[in-house]
């Protein structure tokens, strides 16, 4: 949601202006190169979209262009994060938000699976401990689960 939409002032935007800043196209080329690299060498690439000089409309144009693919996930850790695969397999969009829904980071990951979706080894170790603990200590009401 664009904060500007709530300002009750009419901003004239001609059709010509919308998305004509030409900043999306070069980025799409970069994505294509990254995909090729992933395909041939298995090397993942992350593009930080906040470092790209976007004009008004550019970002929306890019996201619309990439579209939505089969997978989308929501992560709840220090606020919400939205992660979805675009209709181009291997191109993932990762948006991190804070607890007050401010965007913290916005990235494109060209990878098989964004690292943040995978369970982290430390967390796995911790959860194993927790699970064992739970199994070893009998429940007060006698049920296992």
């Amino acid at each position: 949601m664009d904060a500007r939409d709530t300002i009750p002032i009419l901003i004239e935007t001609s059709a010509a202006t919308d998305g004509c800043f030409q900043n999306t196209r070069p980025l799409l080329h970069e994505i294509a190169h990254a995909l090729r690299r992933l395909q041939l060498e298995g090397v993942a690439t992350t593009l930080d979209l906040s470092a790209i000089p976007f004009g008004p409309g550019d970002e929306r144009q890019l996201i619309d262009f990439l579209g939505k693919g089969e997978v989308s996930a929501k992560l709840e850790a220090m606020g919400e994060s939205l992660i979805w695969e675009s209709r181009y397999a291997g191109v993932w969009i990762v948006e991190h938000r804070s607890t007050s829904s401010e965007r913290l980071a916005f990235q494109l990951e060209i990878t098989k699976l964004p690292a943040i979706l995978a369970s982290q080894p430390e967390d796995i170790a911790e959860s194993l401990l927790m699970l064992r603990e739970a199994l070893e200590s009998p429940q007060a009401d006698g049920t296992l689960v």
Binding site: A3, R4, E12, S14, A16, T17, F21, Q22, N23, T46, L47, D48, S50, A51, I52, P53, F54, G55, P56, D58, L75, A77, M78, G79, S81, H96, S98, T99, S100, E102, R103, L104, A105, Q107, A115, I116, Q120, E122, D123
Partner: protein
């Protein structure tokens, strides 16, 4: 306030129940904020996990508090909190609860306890014209800065006043204002210029110090290259229009409405190095050029004296048409004299003319 027993940032986060995923997300956000390449995230995570808690002393001199305002209104509150919660801001005029002798005592205590390790953040220029122009608790800005900087690990000059003298130093500089770098020469000084500076740049520098215990790489003006490495012009989304020769001529013409380049309206983007074009302002909402106004060049030294804000960068600073008219007038005067001399020389030559006859064709030998 954070529990003083917690030594590292990693501890603090875990104590707050943050998962590894959460930490990774935090690192990603921090890297993005510090304008570090995403590939740096794992290294950042390792460092941040072990990051220690520094003491920070914030000094305000000839300033307008705009820099502090900018910082406290910074977006990403969670992230800010995390960083700020983790530093120990032991002295800050505007923000601290203590006042008077108690406040000064806090500063002295922090300096003593963290000798050689604390950070000094300065906003505002230092007047050298007369120490009385700006004092705190009876001490001149110069005295306080010299004294505080002596035991610091590094100094961060926040805002163009501290970094370059800023508005106080603008011609004719009535207070004899100078920048932090003019005073502090034996300590690393990081300039985070801008009027005001971009808030995440301030936190970015703090995060860098926090994470790596070092200062980021600086440009020739002592500014972190990560943020000041490229000019506004080079990162401006309106750059294609500049290249095509499409310019707004007024603030309400078709070009302005279509978002064409603002060069002719005085945009100083080509000479200005800052991160506005990508980081943007007000929670990433927009930035001056996107709002339809050219860059003022506020992160460059002496931008106040760099000619009219609405004059194109190629226009000289002075009143060129006045210079031209005066020069033309002077030129006419001098030229009239030069012309008179030439005329006289020629008339004299004519007068001296000896009629050539066939008898004097030969040379005297």
């Amino acid at each position: 306030m954070v529990d003083k027993k917690i030594k590292t940032l990693g501890d603090a986060l875990r104590r707050n129940g943050v998962s590894r995923r959460g930490f990774l997300k935090f690192c990603t956000a921090t890297a993005s904020m510090m304008a570090l390449p995403p590939a740096m995230v794992p290294a950042l995570a390792a460092s941040l996990d072990k990051a220690r808690r520094p003491s920070v002393i914030w000094l305000s001199f000839q300033e307008c508090t705009g820099c502090t305002e900018s910082l406290t209104r910074s977006h990403s509150p969670t992230l800010e909190n995390l960083i700020f919660d983790h530093i120990s801001l032991d002295y800050h005029h505007t923000l601290q609860a203590a006042s008077g002798h108690a406040a000064e005592a806090a500063r002295e205590e922090a300096m003593r306890a963290n000798e050689g390790n604390y950070l000094v953040v300065v906003d505002g220029a230092i007047p050298l014209g007369n120490p009385g122009y700006s004092t705190i608790a009876g001490f001149s800005n110069l005295q306080i800065l010299e004294e505080t900087a002596a035991g610091a690990a590094a100094v961060i000059a926040v805002g163009s006043c501290a970094a370059f003298g800023g508005l106080p130093k603008a011609d004719p500089n009535p207070t004899g204002a100078v920048s932090v770098r003019d005073i502090v020469t034996d300590k690393p000084v990081v300039n985070v210029s801008g009027c005001p500076p971009i808030p995440v740049v301030i936190t970015g520098v703090l995060a860098h110090f926090l994470t790596f215990g070092t200062l980021p790489e600086l440009d020739e003006y002592g500014r972190p290259k990560a943020f000041f490495g490229t000019s506004i012009h080079d990162r401006c989304y309106r750059r294609p229009f500049y290249d095509k020769g499409l310019f707004a001529n007024t603030f309400d013409d078709e070009g302005a409405r279509k978002g064409w380049c603002l060069y002719k309206l005085g945009c100083k983007g080509p000479m200005t190095y800052n991160a506005c074009a990508t980081v943007k302002w007000n929670e990433g909402t927009s930035w001056p050029v996107e709002s339809g106004h050219g860059c003022l060049g506020c992160s460059q030294p002496d931008f106040w004296d760099a000619g009219g804000f609405y004059n194109a960068l190629s226009i000289p600073v002075g009143d060129i048409s006045r210079t031209t008219s005066y020069a033309a007038a002077a030129g006419l005067g001098v030229a009239a004299v030069a012309a008179g001399i030439n005329h006289k020389t020629k008339v004299a030559a004519r007068k001296r003319h000896d009629r050539v006859t066939i008898d004097d064709l030969e040379k005297i030998s």
